[in-house]
Symmetry: D2
Subunit: 344 residues, 4 copies
């Protein structure tokens, strides 16, 4: 049993982490924190019924961090996570950070994108980007893992192997992504109220979303040159799921691309490259840690189309974090993580 | 053309009033007010495209009320509406009030229920309860109409004729109502956020909703004795519509009750008593000023079941207000009001 | 490991059974059948990704039943299940039947309600009604369990203890239930198409639903007299969940009723009687085997109101079936069954 | 008053036509047909409450076509519409056809795309493509109007003026469209059942949708060369609305493009080019005949992004048909057509 802490456990990703952890045989949540809810139990705040119902939220006090846990999941905002990460690491406690604080190797891009100062740029160097299937070996040895953004997870899983192996052109890369509303977090704004989201569909932050530089830095790393990708996020009137439709130029036959990607991920229990002709859908990954990928081609128009779907709260956040936890502590990668969706 | 004002026009009922008014041949909105949005146009605030797009929100200043309008629709909270009503009436301007301020004849019940003091109890006496089909003649002559609550509208339209004519027992009356989320108004609370309402269903204010005393006062008036009714509201994961399932005891055969109610409403263009055996549904009234009523019986168990459906924003609010406006100014009752639903 | 068969595994309850079984440490599905899909795997038909992805659907041939399984879950229509049950039992194989075939002790009521002839009335006598918390001891020893209907589960769990112990009056009992659309099964009818259900809400089979006699037989059993209950089902525009609002007359103080029920279910891991004043909601049980019960009172109007929520596919079907399986094979009752909902 | 017929009036577009026609001062529906429902009224089949409630469906018998109407709206499948169009035109009756039968000038492309033989290729020559704002003058004089597909409407309205005036490159053109479920018509397939669409999102017919050749033929016409466009349709879990995100290369500054398009459509009452920086959304056009267009740029990545939203049943079908009707009979273009959305 590995004891862990969740710092900032009242948001959707923190709660999803607890929910998933209840099925994990070796992960034991011994500390959860919340500024607002300190002193109350999960039962009291969320009518929790599962295993951790009586766990009490504590104040998140950096000074009081002790060695009682072996790893901390940080579910606090970017900018704030840095301080916790530093403090935990100093105590010899491993960290998986859900914020953007350690996702960038180029600290300046982070600072510009998030309009924040980074207090520990040297930790960015040390941090491993937690896209499990791509950085598996590094994650096994990491003390600090930067859990990827939800959109980047859906986009990078199909693109990195293809771009690295020069099966697609380095540009153009056009990413049209659609996300369920839980991706925005637990909100109290009219913009996210039921009546304003239901029966509506909208794009947001066109050409200006913070996940674009994250996607570009990681693609560039594997392309060996600076990659530019157009990225448009949209808000779906449903709770969970990301669907990314990606337009690229194939450098070879679709059959080869499909075969290569299938081969590339054949040892990855959560990545499914679906048969040619089949289209993955959000319903097939909802509630799972899966990423399903479909490869298509518009032959006449000479474009490749890649479809990638995930559950934004699981593979796009808390599930991938547990997958990384498994690697960091030597457990089988898929320990405690669901593969069968709530098809309905 | 009758010039009107809408005081507090940025909520869902105010906007619905403007939307419906755009199809009304004799109603001209010449003033809309908003504290937050004063100085901006409907276009600027709501990307409005229709006829009133360039209408500018003004500050709602009671002192500046002039005779430039013949009627004011008050879409401000209970407690606040009183002041506006008094000021408009003093200037000789008619008032249709959406709040609860003038719905009660028993001012004490109002004060207890809404935890507010009433500054103009004498106006309560004068006010006509705007349940159009029931108080039609009084409304024609009224200067102050208290537009009914959305739930009471759905409940009273079937019950008042039946109770008055002693076709149902005076008790028990059990009302199980379900409302779309727009009934809660334009909200910025997590409780009403998309993720918290979507794929959920919940009851609220069980045995404690403010519409219970409103329903009871009106039923009592027609029953000639104090009526008690159990009322449970629920929140539906959809935008528009109220569905009330009402359990009563029939005093006569269902065929007679059905025939009586059909006859009672035969001159009412918006009330449809559906054929025996048919069940009305929200989709059939969405976007209309209709109230559809179905009469059922559990013979073996000796209970009558009455189903009533309306669009909460139209017959339950802004549509009924226009219907009342039509009567107050001598226009045909159904002028400008839709009867064909957005079936999809 | 107990080997089981699922007869008729392509409907929502069959698939939910497989999904839940994937987390069960002692339940091994070794046979699934389907007329339409025989010869194909779960992967091929449903893009299944979990543990049983490669399991192949077989033809359901009664004559070929062998002893290779210890229990069969029957997910076939009422009328058809009888034959399978008889055949399995004859081979010494235990049966949990999802249909209505063995739910009634009074075979005539079954035959009238379902308009079917019963070929094995003597098996009805032997069958145990699978409402786990109420018939726990009988289920442990049963060979044939009749899994309850989804609506009856939500209704009987709060009512049976109260009626048996004379804490509520034997009548009136008014049940206003609302169910998610998965309760109708996997449908290809326009009535259940997305556009016809979304943004709509409707009642159906008013005073004529087949679950009414099921509810009444079980209540009567515990009341010691014939109970009549009015039951109105409604269709919710969401996938999973049943919310039952039940109107009764309390015979004692609400505090005593609440205390009694809490005490009654204190050893039942899936029944939660929530604190007085709290209202359970579908979101809190979605994806779990929980039944949450709230007790309310309209003091002034002298009615008790009981709210009961379940996930219709889990506690209302496949989860309760596994709970019964656990009892029948001596495993802890909550083995493999989820308690933490997908809160979002 | 112009008398019209609707051939095939029981689908969503036929019904929407009747609904919209009820608000039209000069359009009088005197004939509606249906194979299945002949002999029954709108009231009987759809519980219709509006003006046309008592209109009776007739058998659609080509031989019996008389001159009692001046125009026929054809809402029958591609392939079948041809016969009706020919017969009506021969009688001197104008035709607006909702099918694809007359959308193509290149009959061979039609025959390949729809896998149908065209019986009246000469009529294709004569037919005017009913994209109102683009073919306004031709429509005024037309006897046969081919109402555009819903997706092409959303795509061509922004692209044609830009491509014709060489403000965007002729390629690449990448169209990522998302449609509400009513776009699929009134369905009885499990694929379109509530449980299979709700909480899901999926692409379909990737690189193979029939609207691609329609889009390409019209773009090519204005580009003066053969245009290729990649088109990916997706299914949204909502009833109404199309949202198209289009990726192109700008040939000039975004400000000029924006200004040009705004100018181009300044006399078009239903086209709104929204201010730079604003993003149109489906909620703003739901229930209206509007098309809202937003222009964006990813400067760093050198791509233009165009967003276009419509209500698929109105501007994408029945509303545009009425707009064309208005032109064909000399009424103001916006007669009877809504501009204010059901914002909620």
């Amino acid at each position: 049993m590995v004891k862990v802490a969740i710092i900032g456990a009242t948001g959707y990703t923190g709660l999803e982490l607890i929910r998933l952890a209840e099925n994990h045989p070796y992960l034991n949540i011994s500390l959860i924190t919340s500024r607002d809810k300190a002193g109350k139990s999960l039962k009291e705040v969320f009518n929790w019924s599962g295993k951790y119902a009586n766990l009490i939220f504590k104040e998140p006090v950096i000074e009081k961090i002790t060695n009682e846990v072996e790893l901390a999941f940080l579910c606090v905002p970017s900018g704030e996570a840095q301080q916790f990460a530093y403090a935990f690491l100093k105590k010899g406690i491993k960290v998986i950070d859900f914020s953007a604080d350690f996702r960038f190797k180029n600290v300046q891009v982070y600072e510009t994108t998030y309009n924040l100062k980074h207090a520990y740029p040297e930790l960015c160097e040390e941090a491993v980007y937690g896209l499990t299937e791509i950085f598996r070996e590094e994650i096994k040895k990491a003390d600090l893992v930067a859990n990827p953004g939800c959109y980047p997870t859906s986009v990078l899983l199909p693109l990195i192997p293809l771009i690295k192996n020069e099966l697609i052109e380095k540009e153009p890369i056009i990413i049209d992504s659609k996300s369920g509303t839980s991706g925005a977090g637990r909100k109290s704004e009219n913009y996210y109220s039921f009546c304003e989201v239901n029966e509506d569909f909208k794009a947001y932050k066109i050409a200006a979303h913070r996940h674009t530089p994250e996607i570009e830095e990681k693609l560039s790393l594997f392309a060996g040159k600076k990659i530019k990708s157009v990225f448009t996020p949209h808000l779906l009137p449903l709770n969970r799921g990301i669907f990314s439709t990606i337009y690229v130029k194939f450098k070879t036959k679709i059959e080869e691309i499909h075969k290569f990607l299938k081969e590339f991920y054949k040892e990855s229990p959560f990545i499914e490259v679906v048969p040619l002709g089949e289209i993955p859908r959000i319903a097939e990954v909802k509630g799972t840690n899966l990423c399903k990928i479909g490869i298509f081609e518009d032959k006449k128009r000479e474009w490749g189309i890649i479809v990638s779907v995930i559950d934004n709260l699981i593979k796009g956040a808390s599930g991938q974090a547990i997958q990384n936890f498994n690697l960091m502590f030597g457990f089988p990668e898929d320990t405690g993580l669901p593969k069968t969706p709530l098809f309905v």
